[in-house]
C-alpha cells in the first residue's frame, strides 16, 4: 500500500531539505531560493492513499518525530552554548564543532590581516549571500499564514488557514467522514508543531550566532555567523538522529488520539 505523503511549500533551506526530515519541500521553479516572492504563503499538505488506521499511525509517527527533534534541538543548543572559540580552536572538539570553529577562524582572519585576497573576498560574498537567503526564509516563516490541507485518495477533504494571531478557519468537504476529520485535525497539529519547531530552530541559530559573536569578535557579527551556526546545528541534529535507535510510536500518544477519534466520531458512528 502506498504511504501518506507530506509536502511543504513556500519555504526553503540552503540544502533544500526540511530540517525536520518530515516534509518534502516543494521548491517552485519560478521562485528561486531566497527570492521570497511566492505570495501563496506556507502550505502543508498531507495526502493519504486511504482514510485508514495506517494514515493515522503515519501522522502520529511524524508527530513523535517532531517531538524527538525538539529534544535534539535542545541538546544542540546546549552544545552550542558550551562552545568557546576563545579557549581552543582545535583540540577536544567533535567534527561539527571543529568545522564551525574553523569557519569562525576564517571569518576572524581579516581582523588580523587587512590583506584580503580575491579568494577571500569571494568567500565572504558567498557567506553574505547565504546569510541573506536564510534571513529571507526566516522572514517568510513568520510573515505568512499557515495553511494545512488534507487529501484522501487525491481528493481534498479539508483545509485550515491559521493566521498570525491564531484565528482558525477550516473548510470541510461536504460529506467528510469522522475519520477524515480526525486525520485532518492530526495534520493541523503536525503542521503547527513543525512550524513551531522551525521557529525554535531560528531562535537557537540566532541566539547561538549572537553568543559566538560576543565570544569570537567576528567582523560582520551575528548575521555573518548565521549560516555557519545553522549548518552546525543541522550537523548536530543529524548526528543525534544517527545515534538514536528507531522507536515505535508511543502508546500514550496514540491513546490520546484514539480518545480524540471517539469524540469526533460522535455517537454511533463507529469510526
Amino acid at each position: 500500500m502506498a504511504a501518506s505523503t507530506f509536502t511543504f511549500s513556500g519555504f526553503s533551506t540552503p540544502e533544500e531539505l526540511d530540517p525536520l526530515g518530515i516534509w518534502d519541500l516543494v521548491i517552485s521553479p519560478v521562485v528561486p531560493y531566497a527570492a521570497g516572492s511566492d505570495d501563496r504563503g506556507l502550505i502543508w499538505r498531507v495526502d493519504h492513499p486511504t482514510s485508514s488506521r495506517e494514515a493515522e499511525t503515519a501522522l502520529l509517527a511524524q508527530r513523535a518525530k517532531v517531538e524527538q527533534w525538539e529534544y535534539s534541538l535542545d541538546a544542540a543548543a546546549r552544545r552550542l552554548a558550551d562552545l568557546s572559540p576563545v579557549t581552543s580552536y582545535a583540540l577536544g572538539f567533535g567534527a561539527p564543532e571543529a568545522e564551525l570553529l574553523a569557519q569562525i577562524a576564517a571569518l576572524q582572519s581579516p581582523v588580523l590581516s587587512y590583506g584580503l585576497g580575491e579568494a577571500a573576498t569571494a568567500a565572504y560574498h558567498e557567506v553574505y549571500e547565504q546569510a541573506n537567503a536564510l534571513l529571507l526564509q526566516f522572514k517568510r516563516l513568520i510573515h505568512h499564514f499557515a495553511r494545512i490541507e488534507t487529501a484522501t485518495r487525491g481528493v481534498s477533504v479539508a483545509l485550515t488557514a491559521v493566521d498570525w494571531t491564531g484565528d482558525y478557519e477550516t473548510v470541510w468537504l461536504d460529506g467528510a467522514t469522522a475519520s477524515d476529520m480526525g486525520l485532518h485535525l492530526e495534520a493541523v497539529r503536525l503542521a503547527l508543531e513543525s512550524r513551531h519547531a522551525l521557529l525554535r530552530l531560528i531562535s537557537v541559530v540566532t541566539s547561538g550566532a549572537l553568543s559566538l559573536t560576543l565570544k569570537a569578535s567576528v567582523p560582520g557579527g551575528q548575521v555573518l555567523l548565521l549560516p555557519a551556526v545553522y549548518n552546525y546545528v543541522r550537523s548536530i541534529l543529524k548526528e543525534l538522529e544517527r545515534q538514536r535507535p528507531s522507536e515505535p510510536v508511543r502508546t500514550g500518544r496514540l491513546g490520546t488520539v484514539e480518545a480524540g477519534y471517539a469524540w469526533n466520531a460522535g455517537p454511533g458512528s463507529g469510526s
Binding site: 534571513l135 483545509l159 569578535s217 557579527g221
Partner: protein, 773 residues
Amino acid sequence: MSDALKGTSEALYTSDLVFNGVNAVTGDYGQPPLSPRTLARLIRGEPFPQDYREFVDRQRLLSGLTTVEERLTRVTDAQVELRATEDKVRRDELRRKAREWGVYPVKPGAGDPANVADVGWAAVFPAEMHPRLREEIKEALRPLFDLRRTQAGEFFRLYEGGDAYRPGERKDQFLERLGVGPGLVDPREMPFYVLLVGTPAQIPYGFQYQLDVMRGVGRLDFGSDVDAYDRYARAVVAAEVNRSHGGTVPRRAAFFAPMNPGDKATKLSAQYLVQPLYENLSQQTIGNDLALSVPWEVGTPIVGEKLATRVRLEALLGGDPAQTPALLFAACHGLEFPAGHPAQLRQQGALLCQDWPGQGRDVAREHYFAGEDIADSADLQGMIAFFFACYGAGTPELDQFAAQAFKVREKIAPQAFTAALPQQLLAHGALAVLGHVERAWGYSFISPSGQLEHQSFITAMRTLMNGGPVGLATDASFNMRYAEMSSDLSADLEELRWDPSHLDDYELAHRWTANNDARSYVVLGDPAARFTLVQEAAEPKQREDVGTITRSEPRSEPPQVPEPEIQEPEEPAPTEDSAKAGVGTVQFAASQAAAGPSTPLRGQPMPRPWAGAALRPHGHERLATEPATRVAVLDADAAVAFGLGDQFNRLRDSLRSFTDQLATSLGRAAQDIITLDVKTYSTKDIAAVAAALDARNEVDANLRALTRVAFDGDLQVYVPETSAGDRQSGNVDLALWEIHRSMVEEAQHSRARFLATMAELATRLLDSLQIGS
C-alpha cells in the same frame, strides 16, 4: 464525640465553609466562604449561574489589583477525561496494593522502607534546567549525593539528561519512559526516596503529588542560589554524620497556633488539631498509635492571645536558640496575594500571627512572619517544621479549585513557586519542611459526623519523632489518605452522574476537601532526611555550625550510618579564581581538611570548577564580562575596510526587515489578542476554496460554526445544524460540532505556544540588533 465538638460540627454544616488563607491586600479570606451546597455543585461541575458569578467575580476583583497578562487557561474536556483516567489508575494502584500485601509501600522482599540501603535514593532534575546551573547544583549537592550513594549503593540514581523530567510529562509517562511500572516500589526499577531538584514550574506540583503516592518524594528548590544548595547539603550530611558520632539536637517539639479574633478557621485548628495533637504526642505510648522510641520534650501549645505572636514565632525560628525546637508544628492562616503582586513571590504563604486583629481588618507587615524575616544568624540545623497553612509550602500557577466547575482556571500566580519561608528554613540548616501547596481547609480534620480526623498528622509526627525519614512519615499518612480519598471521590463522582441521591452535598463537600487537602501536603527537602536521635544521650549537644562543618568526636561504638566513600577528586591545583571563590567555598574546603578520616567529608577540597560563579548572578555572567561594544565597532569598520560595505549593509537591512516583520506581527497580535475566532465551513469543492485563497478572492463556503473566545474567558458560540431540513427541528450536527470544538482547543493551545516563541525570538533579535548596529 464530645457535645462541644458535636455542636461545632453541626454549626459547620449549617454555615459557610472557610478556607485557611487570608488575602494580604484586602484582609479578607482569600477564598470566599462557600455554603456546602454551593461547594458540592462546584465539585460536581454543575454550578448554578449565581455560583459562577460569586466565585469568578471575587477572583476578578482580586486579580484587578494587579496587572497580569494571560490570566486564563482553559480546561478542556480532554483534560477532564484525563483526570478521570488518572483517578482510575490510582484506584488500580490501591487494588493492586491490597492484593500484593507486603511491607507497604515497597514490594515484598525489598527490605525496610525506612532504610535507604534497602529501598534506594534518587534525584530527578528537570530537562528545562540550564545545563550549567544543573552542574553547579550537582556540585553543591555533592556531599549529600555522596552520602546517599554510599548508603544506597546500586540503588542510587540521578535522573538527568535523557532521563530528566521533561516538560508536561505526567507521572505515568515519566515512569513508563524509564521502564518503571505502577504499583509497589521495586528499588531496582526506581528508588523509593526521590528528591526533585528544581522549581515547581520546571517539575510541577501535580507530578510531585502523584509520584508521592507510592514513593517518598521531596523537593529542593533554591532557584539559582547555588550557595543555598551547598549549605543545605552540608547541613543534612552533618546531621547524619553526627548521628553516628553521638551528636544530636534537643528533642523538643513546639506547637504554635494563633486564634485570631472572630476567625473560625484558626479557632478550629487550635482547638481540634493542635490541642489533640499535643495531647497525643506528649505521651510516649497511647492506644495503638506508634510508640515513641525516645522521650521528647513536648511543650505546651503556644496558642492565642499574647502568646502566638510574631515575636514568639521569630524566636522559635532561630531568633532565640534556647526556644528553637527540633520539631515545630504551626497551624495558622497562610498569606495570599493577588497573582503578580510584587510581594507574592517573597511573602505568599507567610504565617499570619496572633497580631492580626481578624477578618476584614488590614493585614500589616508586622502581623506576619515571612522568609525574609529569618535572621541571617538563625541556626535551624536539624529542625523539621510542619506548617498547616494555605500556601505554606508553595503555590501552583493555576487555581486548583475551579477546574471541575467552570472549565476555566484562574491564574493565581505568574508561575508555580515554592514558598520563601521554607526555602529560608532549609537554607539555614533545617532538614525538611512539610507544608501545604495551595489552599488548606481547616475543616478537613473533622468529619461530617463530628469525628476528629487527625490520624494522618499523628502518624506523620510520631514517625518523625522516632527518627523515620520524612518521606516515609508522609507516605503512611497523608499520601495513603490521599490515595484512598481520591479513589472514593472518583467512584462517588462517577456514581453521582447516574444517581444524584448517591451522596448528599455535605458528604461530597467533605470528601472533595479532604482529598484536596491530603493531596497537597508536600515535603520540601531531602525525603530521606531524618532526626538525629541517640537514645542514651541525656544532654543533647549544641547545634553544629552549618557554615563551618567540623569533625565530631567519634563514638566508641561503630557508626550506625555507613560511611560514605568519597572518591578522591581529581582536583587541579588551586587557582587564583578558586582562591577568590567566596566565603562558602573557602569554609567548606577548610572544614573538609579538618574533618579527619572518619567523616564523609574527608580528603581534599571538593572540586568546584565553577568556583567564583556563586558570587555572581547566574545566567548572563558571560554577557556581562565579554566586550560587546568592541564587537559592534569592529563590525562596521571591518566590513567597509574590506570592500564589502554594500553587501554588509544589505545583510543588515535583511536582518532589520526580518526583525521589523516580527515586531509588526507581534504588535498586530497584541491588538487582536482580545479575541480568538475559530470558524468552521463546509463546501462542495475544497480545491476551489484553495484557489480562491491563492487569488485572495472571496471564498464560497457555508459558515457552519463559530466560536469567539474573549480574553476574559467569555464565549460566543454558534453551533451547526445538521442540514437545511433539520433546521426546523434545531438538531445539531454532532460530528461537525465535535471537530469544531477540537479545533477551538487546538487554536487556543497553538496560539499561546506560538506567541511565546515569537516573543522570545523577537527579544533575542532585538538584542542582537542593538549589538550589531
